[in-house]
């Protein structure tokens, strides 16, 4: 589905990614974990073509996207749910979800897609006419996921969906993410909360200082991570 080969790049101030290679298969949930500032978000931005500078190769279903712009990548079936949710605060929940289906460019199809999305995210059903900025953090995360899901993407890029959420809300969001993989949809999940991410992921990559340092099956990485945490004496 997604293949990244020796990706380097960053911002005008300097590079943040160095020779990053990873892949996500069809229907797979892959976790990209690592400490703050390791370059996790930059990898997602490179895929969405919003990272100012990037070199290397990124392909979607075999198609090279290095020369594509942001909205063209979306049209190829990629939905990016950014860190901090970034819902459109002064638009209604309904308009937010409808904008997620922007690429459909069809009134009837959009209405149908919005209805489908609210079935998957029932918590939003009663809030459709509310301004998105007035939702709670957890609800905003639901909305951001719904906005990404509504276009029926083949690949979803999820950036720190648990950030700032209560443990209960986090569990709810992660339960939803597991359901999003239906129909062969792939998910690349970026998380600081490694244990949680590896619980629902099939495979994982660990990124540090802009480089992939480890990769493997989730249960292996999870064991290593737990071991490391018990050594360092802190959890979560």
């Amino acid at each position: 589905m997604l293949a990244i080969d020796r990706l380097s790049g960053g911002y005008r101030g300097g590079s943040v990614l160095f020779d990053v290679s990873l892949s996500v298969g069809a229907g797979e949930i892959v976790a990209l974990i690592g400490p703050n500032g390791a370059g996790k978000t930059s990898v997602l931005r490179a895929i969405s073509r919003t990272l100012p500078q990037s070199r290397g190769a990124i392909s979607l279903n075999g198609e090279d996207i290095m020369r594509r712009t942001g909205h063209q990548v979306v049209a190829l079936g990629v939905a990016h749910v950014p860190e901090g949710r970034r819902v459109f605060p002064r638009l209604t929940v309904r308009d937010n979800i409808a904008l997620g289906a922007f690429v459909l460019d069809d009134h009837a199809k959009t209405a149908e897609a919005v209805a489908n999305a609210t079935d998957v995210f029932p918590a939003l059903k009663s809030r459709l006419e509310q301004l998105a900025g007035t939702l709670s953090g957890g609800e905003q995360q639901m909305l951001a996921l719904a906005r990404g899901f509504v276009s029926n993407p083949k690949l979803m890029l999820l950036d720190e969906p648990s950030l700032g959420l209560s443990p209960r809300m986090t569990d709810e969001v992660f339960a939803l993410i597991e359901r999003l993989r239906t129909g062969g949809r792939s998910i690349l999940l970026v998380e600081q909360n490694a244990i949680l991410a590896l619980e629902i992921a099939d495979r994982g990559y660990v990124i540090e200082g802009g480089r992939i340092v480890t990769e493997g099956r989730s249960d292996e990485l999870r064991r290593a991570e737990l071991l490391q945490q018990s050594y360092l004496g802190h959890a979560g």
């Binding site: 712009t69 942001g70 909205h71 819902v87 605060p89 638009l91 904008l99 922007f102 276009s151």
Partner: protein
């Protein structure tokens, strides 16, 4: 009392035109963080175009106004594609470019229409008279057209897919990319809409007042003041700000001194800039569309 009401009507008339001018400034600032000093020049050129279409080619006023509106949009598109698009990450450069554009547009207007003020023949003689108030037909038409344009713009912003996309882009630019909004195309669209409204306002200005190649700069200044008054600038706030400035000017000129009217507005603008910069131009610099 009738005098006061008369002044209020005149103020609303001018204020509506100010709002039309300011909407484009506010829209473009909201999407790009750029301040376009050449915006008022589009008003000036729109005015001259309607002058020529009605006076030299005998076209009806409303037809000329639509002509100005279309030409204004086209000019906005040309400006964006040839210059402003190179300044997306650095709005300060966009500002400098807009200063260069002013020089070009003013010289162009001087060459074609000269520097003497031009006044249009009265297109619609007559006036409505009621309760001691008077409203010329030209002014009545201006009020109606302004209201239609503002309402149309509002409906576009709230109801249409493109309008929603523009608001989304202003509120969360990065997320707007992730839902598939083609950012460059929509920034160009905002420029086109803004300059089209400005040129239409220019057509109405030209029919009510005289026009010179130099009116653009002062209209840009009015636009800035309106946008600052309206809170840089919810579209609704910009419209309210325009009406407020128009009424304030009409009352100020009627009851205080006319000489420093412009200076009061600038002073207000300066104070808003310095004491509420975070609220208006903000850290995020986002417009509440």
């Amino acid at each position: 009392m009738t005098d006061l009401i008369q002044q209020l009507i005149n103020g609303l008339l001018i204020g509506g035109l100010y709002a039309l001018v300011a909407l484009g400034i506010s829209l473009v600032f909201g999407l790009t963080g750029m301040v376009n000093f050449a915006h008022g020049e589009v008003v000036m050129l729109g005015g001259y175009l309607t002058f020529t279409l009605t006076q030299s080619f005998g076209m009806p006023f409303l037809g000329s106004l639509v002509g100005s509106l279309l030409a204004g949009g086209l000019l906005g598109f040309a400006m964006d594609r040839t210059t402003f698009r190179y300044t997306r990450g650095t709005p300060m450069n966009g500002l400098v470019i807009s200063l260069g554009l002013i020089m070009i547009f003013q010289s162009l207007a001087m060459t074609i229409w000269g520097t003497e003020p031009l006044t249009m023949d009265v297109l619609f003689p007559g006036a409505f008279q009621q309760w001691g108030l008077s409203l010329s037909i030209q002014k009545a038409i201006t009020l109606v057209v302004t209201a239609v344009l503002i309402a149309g713009f509002g409906l576009f912003l709230v109801k249409s897919r493109a309008g929603r996309a523009l608001r989304a882009l202003a509120q969360e630019p990065e997320a707007a990319v992730y839902v598939g909004i083609p950012v460059e195309r929509y920034i160009a669209l905002s420029m086109v809409i803004g300059t089209a409204l400005a040129a239409a306002a220019g057509a109405m200005f030209a029919a009510l007042f005289s026009i010179t190649p130099f009116v653009g700069t002062s209209l840009t200044a009015k636009g800035f003041i309106v946008v600052a008054l309206g809170g840089m600038g919810s579209a609704a706030g910009t419209i309210a700000g325009g009406l407020l400035l128009g009424v304030m000017e009409a009352l100020g000129a009627g009851y205080i001194s006319a000489a420093f009217t412009d200076a009061y507005g600038l002073l207000l603008f300066l104070l808003v800039l310095s004491f509420k910069p975070a609220g208006l131009f903000g850290v995020s610099g986002r417009v509440k569309l």
